[in-house]
Symmetry: C2
Subunit: 197 residues, 2 copies
DNA sequence: GTCTATATTTTGATAGAC
DNA sequence: GTCTATCAAAATATAGAC
């Protein structure tokens, strides 16, 4: 059942992605939904709450997707490959929402900001744990775990910026490139002389 | 001579970085400069023009810095190392301006937008040329040049997000990590079965 | 170069009818 | 659940005095 609340959500994702949160007005969202701006406030208490809802759902689904993809993967290298693949796939398939979740943190109220940052930390810690295990098992080079996890996540976000669903490359082909790049950058022998954190 | 125009520029960089372009008002900029908002318009014709000025100067200096660092580097691997090092150094030393240049494109007028995108393309093409030469010389694995250049630039931007000038790591130590990561990801043998663009 | 005063538009949000 | 009408505040920008 496609409710008006869902429609507002979809329209807001489109507009926040194209113009940014602050540059998008409630009237604009209402206009593209075919209703008056006052009617928006029946479904959401504020403009900020629409943004918060988008970010919350996106982060929860991103983390759920990752956990699902890691389930049953035991080998440490396979786990990192699966994690990168999961991250890239989600970001390509959900381009607009992940862009908003990455760039519109400043539009949130302090309380909502903290909640989203906590969810983001949770997600990052899954990656950091894999890197840590890989270093311990001497599969990965031992470097600063936090720096590497940010590097990997940021690198994999790159695809979402230029990816075109109508383009010639498939999601999996792109994910494979990032996967190989990350594993090549991570593996032992790359960082001589640097000690574990 | 620290002119008022310079002061407006510095204050705007700080505010656009902290709050975003659309969330920052002309009154706020004026307030932190110790003048009235009307006085801003003596120095700049519009708020958008302040943003444009920041982006233009940043892109010009970024490209100039890269060219200077590449000058005299002949070996292909040395050129890529120097390019990554230059990119990371600039982004860590000029955190706020590069963040604005990367994230506030949507605040520009169409004409100014095109001008900045052109400068950005110019910069990226220097990286793409190095990758292309590296593939031709069979030093790098032969993969999609555009994808790799975006991946490298995005990856190297990661540092600017968390870097703290007061922190324990030096700019050069961080640049070394990214340099090694990129070269590890790029080098031949990583991408079996993928043909050149 | 900076000021005061103001024009114009638009914003997010609320009240109350239907 | 959507409407009309409206509020109060804030925005960018301009005019003209000093």
């Amino acid at each position: 059942m496609p409710s008006m609340k869902d429609k507002i959500n979809r329209v807001a994702i489109e507009l926040f992605y194209q113009k940014g949160y602050f540059a998008t007005s409630v009237s604009e969202i209402a206009g593209q939904c075919g209703i008056q701006k006052a009617s928006i406030y029946y479904h959401y208490p504020s403009k900020e709450n629409i943004l918060f809802h988008i970010q919350k759902v996106t982060m929860d689904e991103l983390t759920g997707y990752l956990r699902g993809n890691l389930d049953g993967q035991d080998d440490i290298e396979a786990r990192m490959r699966a994690a990168v693949h999961s991250h890239v796939r989600f970001h390509l398939n959900r381009q607009k929402e992940t862009f908003i979740a990455n760039s519109e943190l400043r539009g949130l109220t302090p309380a909502h900001y903290r909640e989203i940052v906590r969810k983001r930390d949770e997600y990052e810690q899954i990656f950091q744990q894999i890197i840590r295990e890989g270093c311990k098992a001497a599969v990965f080079a031992a470097v600063d775990v936090r720096i590497l996890s940010y590097a990997i996540l940021t690198l994999c976000n790159a695809g979402a910026i230029w990816y075109n669903p109508e383009g010639r490359m498939s999601v999996d082909a792109i994910a494979d490139i990032y996967e190989t790049f990350v594993l090549g950058g991570l593996k032992k022998g790359q960082f001589p002389g640097i000690t574990p954190e």
